[in-house]
């Protein structure tokens, strides 16, 4: 294990070569015995579905009539998530949750993390009808950036700077994903190059601009005023963030350990993904945030997985032959998922390398790894596989496969074609999200209950199989 000095000085963080800077005052607090270990959650979403075969150990049957819990110890992980093997003792694979109420066909939009339906068609990508789980978790563990949402747009060009796609503080209050690593870097570490005066000047500017904007407020009412309040909140949040960064700047940590930016803006999806994972690790380790969401594909189908193949993501999901890589689409999807798992495993390794309390940062972290479109591109949400890694300081059970009752069909002896279908009585993905809140010491009876039936409420409740 690295000590903090050597970590700060030398650890290369993958393709972007960021140098990490754990908060010096955190270590000081640890030394003084005043440090309260924060819990951290990382959500990683990807498009085109988490095929059952992509996360199911071949030696554990997918189908089962009863809820099953099987230790993973003697089971090898499948190809797509093999990069997580070093963390198998911290892992839980979940099959049999449902998300049929979210119409996740071609991407679940905001439903994937909220478990709430905004409608079908374009509505599910646009309407923000409630709080997402990453925001709910973020409320429990405040930090400089309460939540860091990093987007990875498909395709081969610059893509959008920001996107509203996965996360929201509540109805009508989406949280933007930062889709350009260099811009996200600027948000997170831009203060490094600042001098002492800059923070005061910026504060002065924000105060003045805020006052300017507030003058409008009294002339508006109802939804129009709420619209402006959202803008004002943004000014205040930027100002507040600047103030906190100023403190970190004063400690010297940010200036001394300035991460290096990639020389040129990343254009390929694989490179953007790598940079975003590096940024996520850096932000967590420096204590800038405790909650990160990486959404690869922006919760819907994009153009291509550039860096892996330039063929359309939609076509690949249809298992069409990919002339560029000379394999069928599902193989390309498998490579994409594995690449993603490799990058995320790298992120976890970095957390594992940082001592915290009596263990490492990873001991107080959980990764939630899933697709925004359940188990495949054209899905009815009848099974929504998840992989969790980490136990959040001992609150989550690990080293297990948890299978809720599930039928398997379309097998034909080919593991890739196995298609799980959970009965309507199974828990919804909301149940898993509710479990996370329990593990974060913020229990709720249900998470975003969207059914009128009281019988259904239990499908939205915490999953005892996952909690210690």
């Amino acid at each position: 294990m690295l000590n903090r000095r050597s970590l700060l000085k030398g650890v290369s963080a993958g393709t972007a070569s960021y140098l990490f800077a754990p908060l010096l005052n955190t270590f000081a607090q640890q030394a003084a015995g005043r440090y309260q270990v924060p819990r951290r959650v990382i959500f990683v979403l990807f498009d085109n579905g988490f095929y059952e075969g992509a996360c199911q150990p071949a030696t554990i049957p997918l189908a089962g009539e009863q809820t099953r819990q099987v230790a993973l110890t003697d089971h090898a992980l499948p190809h797509d998530i093999q990069p997580f093997t070093p963390f198998k003792d911290r892992m839980t694979i979940v099959q049999g949750l449902r998300g049929s109420h979210l119409s996740p066909n071609h991407g679940g939009g905001f439903g994937a993390l909220s478990g709430l339906s905004g409608g079908v068609g374009e509505d599910k990508f646009r309407r923000v009808v409630g709080e997402s789980i990453d925001a709910a978790v973020a409320r429990a563990v405040p930090s400089v950036f309460p939540i860091l949402v990093l987007g990875v747009a498909a395709g081969r060009d610059m893509g959008p700077a920001t996107a509203l796609c996965s996360s929201a503080w509540g109805a009508g209050r989406p949280i933007a994903a930062q889709c350009r690593p260099e811009l996200a870097y600027e948000s997170l570490f831009g203060a490094i190059g600042a001098d002492r005066n800059d923070f005061a000047i910026r504060r002065n500017l924000f105060d003045f601009v805020g006052e300017d904007t507030r003058r409008l407020r009294s002339q508006l009412a109802g939804p129009e005023r709420e619209q402006l309040d959202y803008h004002l909140e943004a000014i205040e949040s930027l100002s507040r963030r600047d103030g906190q960064l100023a403190q970190m700047h004063d400690s010297g940590a940010l200036r001394q350990h300035a991460p290096r930016l990639p020389a040129a803006p990343r254009l390929r999806m694989t490179d953007i993904l790598a940079s975003q994972c590096d940024l996520a690790a850096a932000a967590l380790i420096t204590g800038l945030t405790n909650v990160v969401t990486v959404t690869s594909g922006l919760c819907r189908l994009g153009t291509s997985y550039s860096g892996i193949s330039n063929t359309g993501t939609h076509s690949l999901g249809h298992n069409n032959f990919d002339p560029e890589t000379s394999v069928n689409g599902r193989v390309v999807l498998s490579r994409y998922r594995r690449y993603l798992a490799e990058q995320v495993a790298g992120l976890l390794r970095k957390l594992q390398d940082v001592r915290e309390g009596n263990g490492t940062m990873l001991d107080n972290t959980v990764l939630v790894f899933t697709s925004d479109s359940a188990n495949r591109q054209h899905t009815a949400g009848e099974n929504w596989p998840f992989v969790l890694i980490g136990n959040l300081g001992g609150r989550l059970r690990t080293n297990q496969f948890v299978g809720y009752p599930l039928r398997a069909r379309g097998a034909d002896g080919n593991a890739w074609d196995v298609h799980g279908s959970a009965p309507a009585s199974n828990p919804m993905i909301n149940g898993l999200y509710c479990t996370l809140l329990h593990a974060m010491n913020r229990p709720r009876e249900t998470f975003n209950l969207a059914s009128s039936s009281r019988d259904d409420a239990r499908k939205y409740q915490a999953l005892p199989e996952l909690l210690t």
Binding site: T162, A176, L205, L220, L238, H318, R454
Partner: protein, 701 residues
């Protein structure tokens, strides 16, 4: 004595609370509990013991669902005892109040969404009955991405800042719109959040730095007309700048950057901020902060529409009116004539505004980008490029791998619309009935057809999908061509619309029917219940009409009866937009046989007879209702309907006013429709009427 008073207060409070909550209880008993009672409740939902005062935490979600069901008129169902509109409204208000007092945040803005536009009663709107004077609420309207970038580019050119307007150097908008089948730009739709603002701050900082670099030096040339000499004086003087010099720099900067004069109080505040910045960090950096502050003003990001005077209702001030007119039709800030009219006090009445609106509509040099965008979003045909067709499907339908290029159809539809707008006669009728289209404008406009015919990506197959055969010599980018009149009739039979309202593998009969129900007939379709698995059976060997049997189930048919029979006539075309006389389906047996022989790949296809009949039902216009033999009869009926024209007017209103209509807008809509009719179906007359209406000009609290 004290206890007596206390008892009285407690009793009074209890009676107030009880009265406030009597409504939900009465409503539940009267309309809900019969089906959702204690014994065998429908959908396992019991409402008989729901607690209303105060709402129990565990029952909040049930109340939210109840609110949605009552508000959208989905419950009580048709055939059951139903509340009057007033009773329904009361119940909605009561549940909202209860949920709010329980700390629940409600998404009240959903009623402002374009998808809810038709929930205002059509007949009431066009009834001609007197209502409150029309006006729009005081509001903010975030600039479109295009308008934002136009502003930045205009400043770039004005001050010769040297920012590249392409590639990675381009100053991009923090937000952008994707292709949608719904109006994307209502004033209530978009907010500016932290990430947007941070992005804008970066743009503003970049621009401010470049401006400071420019104004720290000497005037580039005598002809540099936008030189702000007053700013130059302060940048150079720095901390020692005199108050009068700072005041002059502030006023001049506002004038040149935002094209407006400052109020005295504003001038004082900005001068104080500028002075403070200069004292803290000197001339160049202090000026940079001052310029950033100007560029972070809300008006750089929004259209701000507040009434000119205090009071319940007033016309917009001239500067705001100038922006409203300009941004209604274009992506640009007001041009010089508009600005001059505003500052000369010649933009203070409907007549003044009409002069400017008609001038802009007449001037062919001014690109009316938003007018074309309205039609793109109204018909939703730009989504055709998002409907992916995989290679297998292309092969099965006999289209070459590179032969499906929906951009061709979109560009051709754009040109057709612009051509019809240039004629400006019977615009809607023409759009719905013409058999003309432009051809291959996306690829060939501005180029010459190569000798030997059309050689380029998908050109030949595009012509084949249209069903036309022309030679290179006949082709021209500037004129429309006739499509077979017995096959095609207007945009709804144009491949762009047909492909946009299709799925990846099929016609989307439901979506097409829904489009007609909502966009032409003004009907309302409730949102799909979350418990419904809205997919058709995966039976590619069955005709679509057969696969749609699932929508005929009683529960589904309640809504589908308003959509499916209107979409069915478009079975005349396949999902690429080709005219057809039989439906292509999978030959199951032959495909299985092929598989057994180890020959994988495309499936064996066969045909099934086509049924293109449909029905117009409950349209709101009795003369329209009845069966139709096919798409031509359906379109012909719709194109002649006055109601359809009125619904079109409602959509034009929504797009250009940026909001849904209310009952108060009834007279505005009636007048706009009259203007359209009396002008022989002129879009310009319709726009002039709407953009000079009280709804456009006035703001009321």
């Amino acid at each position: 004595m004290f206890y007596g008073r206390l008892l009285f207060l407690v009793t009074l409070f209890a009676s107030i609370v009880s009265a406030a909550h009597a409504e939900p209880r009465r409503f539940l008993t009267q309309f809900c509990v019969q089906c959702h009672g204690e014994k065998k409740p429908k959908a396992s939902l019991s409402l008989h013991d729901l607690t209303d005062a105060p709402v129990k935490k565990s029952e909040i979600d049930t109340w939210k669902i109840l609110l949605d069901q009552v508000e959208t008129e989905q419950m009580p169902p048709e055939g059951a005892k139903r509340p009057t509109p007033a009773e329904r409204q009361k119940m909605v208000a009561s549940i909202q109040a209860m949920l709010k007092s329980a700390g629940v945040s409600l998404d009240e803005s959903r009623w402002l969404a374009p998808s809810r536009g038709n929930w205002v009663d059509h007949d009431a709107l066009f009834s001609g009955k007197p209502v409150d004077p029309a006006a729009t609420r005081p509001r903010l309207w975030r600039l479109s991405g295009q308008a934002y970038e136009e502003f930045m580019q205009q400043k770039n050119l004005q001050f010769k800042l040297g920012i590249k307007n392409y590639g990675q150097g381009k100053m991009r908008a923090p937000w952008e719109f994707s292709n949608q089948k719904e109006f994307s730009d209502y004033s209530s739709t978009h907010k500016i959040g932290e990430a947007d603002l941070e992005y804008h701050l970066r743009n503003a900082t970049r621009m401010a730095k470049l401006m400071v670099a420019k104004f720290a030096g000497s005037r580039p040339s005598a002809t540099f007309s936008d030189w702000i000499g007053e700013l130059n004086v302060v940048v150079v003087a720095g901390k020692s700048a005199a108050p009068a010099q700072i005041d002059a720099a502030v006023a001049a900067s506002f004038d040149k950057i935002l094209n407006r004069k400052l109020e005295a109080e504003e001038l004082k505040r900005y001068a104080a901020f500028y002075k403070k910045s200069l004292d803290q960090i000197g001339g160049e950096r202090g000026t940079e902060q001052f310029l950033i502050a100007i560029l972070l003003r809300p008006e750089v990001m929004y259209r701000i529409e507040l009434p000119a005077t205090e009071g319940p209702r007033a016309i917009l001030p001239p500067a705001a009116l100038a922006r409203a007119v300009s941004f209604a039709l274009t992506d640009s800030e007001p041009d010089e004539p508009l600005r001059k009219a505003a500052s000369a006090g010649e933009l203070a009445s409907a007549a003044d505004v009409r002069v400017q609106v008609e001038r802009i509509l007449r001037d062919r040099k001014i690109p009316k980008t938003r007018v074309l965008r309205f039609f793109q979003e109204y018909f939703g045909y730009k989504s055709a490029m998002d409907i992916f067709k995989d290679e297998t499907t292309l092969a099965e339908y006999g289209i070459p791998r590179d032969g499906w290029v929906p951009n061709h159809f979109i560009a051709d539809a754009d040109h057709l619309i612009q051509w019809i707008l240039e004629g400006d006669k019977n615009v809607l009728h023409e759009l719905l009935t013409t058999n003309k289209t432009f051809l291959l404008t996306a690829e060939l406009r501005g180029k010459k057809v190569q000798p030997g015919g059309f050689k380029g990506r998908g050109l030949q197959s595009t012509l084949a999908i249209y069903g036309v055969s022309i030679s290179g010599e006949q082709w021209s980018p500037n004129k429309p061509f006739d499509l077979p009149a017995e096959q095609r009739m207007g945009i709804l039979t144009h491949p762009s619309w047909l492909a946009a309202h299709s799925t990846n593998f099929d016609n989307h009969t439901i979506d097409r029917g829904r489009w007609i129900r909502e966009r032409l007939l003004g009907g309302r379709i409730p949102e799909i219940p979350i418990t419904v698995d809205a997919t058709l059976p995966d039976e590619p060997h069955q005709p679509l009409r057969e696969r749609m049997r699932v929508t005929k189930v009683e529960y589904c048919w309640q809504c589908h009866k308003f959509m499916d029979p209107l979409g069915m006539p478009f079975e005349q075309f396949d999902h690429f937009g080709r005219f057809r006389t039989a439906e292509l389906i999978v030959d199951k047996q032959a495909t299985e046989m092929k598989g057994k022989q180890g020959k994988l790949g495309t499936r064996v296809m066969t045909t099934a007879p086509l049924d293109i009949t449909g029905t117009i039902e409950a349209s709101g216009d009795a003369t329209l209702d009845g069966p139709v033999k096919g798409p031509r009869e359906l379109i012909d009926k719709l194109a002649k309907s006055e109601r359809v024209e009125q619904v079109f007017v409602r959509h034009v209103f929504r797009y250009f006013l940026g909001r849904n209509e209310t009952l108060s807008d009834g007279p505005v809509l009636v007048a706009a429709h009259r203007a359209y009719r009396e002008s022989g179906g002129s879009m310009n007359a319709l726009l002039a009427s709407l953009l000079t209406s009280d709804a456009f000009l006035y703001r009321a609290k």
